[in-house]
Amino acid sequence: MTRPRFSRKALGIPYAVFLLFFVIVPMLVIVFYAFTDKQNHLSGMNFIKFFSDPTKLSTIAYSLVIALITTAVCLVVAYPVALILARSKMKKKNVILMLFVTPMWINFVLRVNAIRELLNWIGILGEANYFNTILGMVYDFLPFMILPLYTTLLKIDESLYEASADLGGNAFTTFSRVTVPLSMPGIMSGVTMVFLPSMTNYVVSDMLGNSKVTIIGKFIETYFGSDWHMGSMIALILLVVVFLSTMLSGGFKEDENVRGTNL
């Protein structure tokens, strides 16, 4: 009845082991360090210290504000682009969409360096650190916003716009009562995809903010040198925030994988 079968399931074992050693264990190590003190005794002090230190909290607040502004600017710039492209009847609109994603393929640090040179040329590098950081983040994360917006806007049935017009809706009502609500999933995933790196990717803030702008990612990095326990606690808090926000926005979607679109 049963012949010995080559187990296809077994193919997943190396990957499972890899995940165990290099994803799960490191996460547990972070949790361990977060809840221990320098003598490796179990302790909730890092958690309490984090939430009772005004300088720490103000750094976090600054970082959140930077991320919020970045996300808002990205949304305001990207939405019209995505809407125009999605509703355009142009044959080659895919090529134009590609052009928005193409800069993502240039090495990230080289891309930030290009913005740095531009700011230097204009003469505001080192002068307007927060402005430069936000500008750089908008530049770098804009495609993350355009793509999910475009995908959801493209799915909206044209006849809904016509129906809205027939029912007496003007352009603004149609936009606010039809277009925006129906593109909400795209807005949500665009917002998460821009907001998270804006809080954590310190390459931009270091290179464009003259190393004077500290975002949460940089904050973790500074503790890596001095206090692993506190560093791990901040990382853990960030981890929880990231997972909660991803769950709220409906999780990672394969068709919104920005980097994969050019392939």
């Binding site: 290099f22 799960i24 490191p26 080289l110 290009a114 990382a235």
Partner: protein, 266 residues
């Protein structure tokens, strides 16, 4: 009509602004002077510098070798992983898929910090091995994500038919299943290459001290730039321009080929 050209103007403007920094570098990469805004004369000196400075050549080589090594390993591991997950029972499937998501949605700094602390905790010194592991952690889940949809689209009865016709399970897997998921494997590999090429944070946490990729080299040169001359910095302009041109050509060719293929099937 006005509305239409206004729309085109807006899209064009955003594109122009998006490309402005790179275009600025592209223009001044042909400048004989190491200064943006001051034009000396047309010159390839930055390109010559790029291809003759051993340190710069080394970091470019490092970046490429690392990207292809990490991508190749991730592709093998991820493809086998995707197959394993696809054929597993529901609970195993859900668990593995869930854990796969962690490096995808996690902030890179958290992944990097966790790996670095773990390596120290188990007494593993930073080496090419730890760097490769770091890159595989970011790349492999994306390979799984690329291969999985192709497995779901696959016709399972073909595999059964091959077995009925006397093929061994291994033969059936290589001759029937693998060819059907090749597009997913290829795009997973490409994705892995670009993720690895692009990475700064995980690289900086897992690399040996003297090893540099383009990302770490340029980051250090611009933020801690004391040991770097204006000449080194301006050779980055040439590098950016070359990468930009190669990518633009690649994207346009791929798109034209893609649209022609679609027209052909109509």
């Amino acid at each position: 009509m006005i509305k239409k050209s206004l729309k085109a103007f807006y899209v064009g403007l955003v594109l122009l602004l998006l490309y402005a920094p790179v275009l600025l570098l592209a223009v001044y990469s042909f400048n004989s002077v190491d200064l943006i805004g001051t034009w000396g004369e047309f010159s390839f000196s930055h390109y010559v510098k790029l291809f003759t400075e051993p340190v710069i050549l080394e970091m470019i080589g490092n970046t490429l070798v690392l990207a292809f090594a990490a991508a190749a390993l991730s592709t093998v591991l991820g493809t086998a992983g995707a197959l394993g997950i696809y054929y597993s029972k529901k609970r195993v499937k859900r668990a593995l898929n869930g854990v796969s998501q962690i490096p995808v949605i996690n902030a890179e700094i958290v992944t990097a910090l966790a790996l670095a602390i773990t390596f120290v905790a188990v007494g593993l010194e930073k080496s090419y091995f730890t760097l490769l592991i770091g890159h595989m952690v970011i790349c492999t889940p994306f390979v799984v994500l690329s291969v999985m949809p192709k497995l779901k689209q696959m016709d399972n009865s073909l595999y059964e038919a091959a077995l009925d016709l006397g093929a061994s399970p291994a033969t059936a897997l290589f001759k029937i299943v693998l060819p059907q998921i090749v597009p997913g494997i290829v795009s997973g590999f490409m994705l892995a290459v670009t993720l690895s090429l692009d990475d700064y944070i995980v690289t900086s946490y897992t690399k040996p001290a003297t090893f540099n990729t383009i990302s770490t080299y340029v980051y250090n040169a611009t933020t801690k730039g004391n040991a770097h001359t204006a000449e080194t910095l301006s050779s980055f302009w040439a590098l950016t321009t070359i990468i930009f041109v190669v990518i633009l050509a690649f994207v346009l060719v791929a798109n034209l080929a893609g649209s022609r293929k679609k027209e052909g099937t109509k």
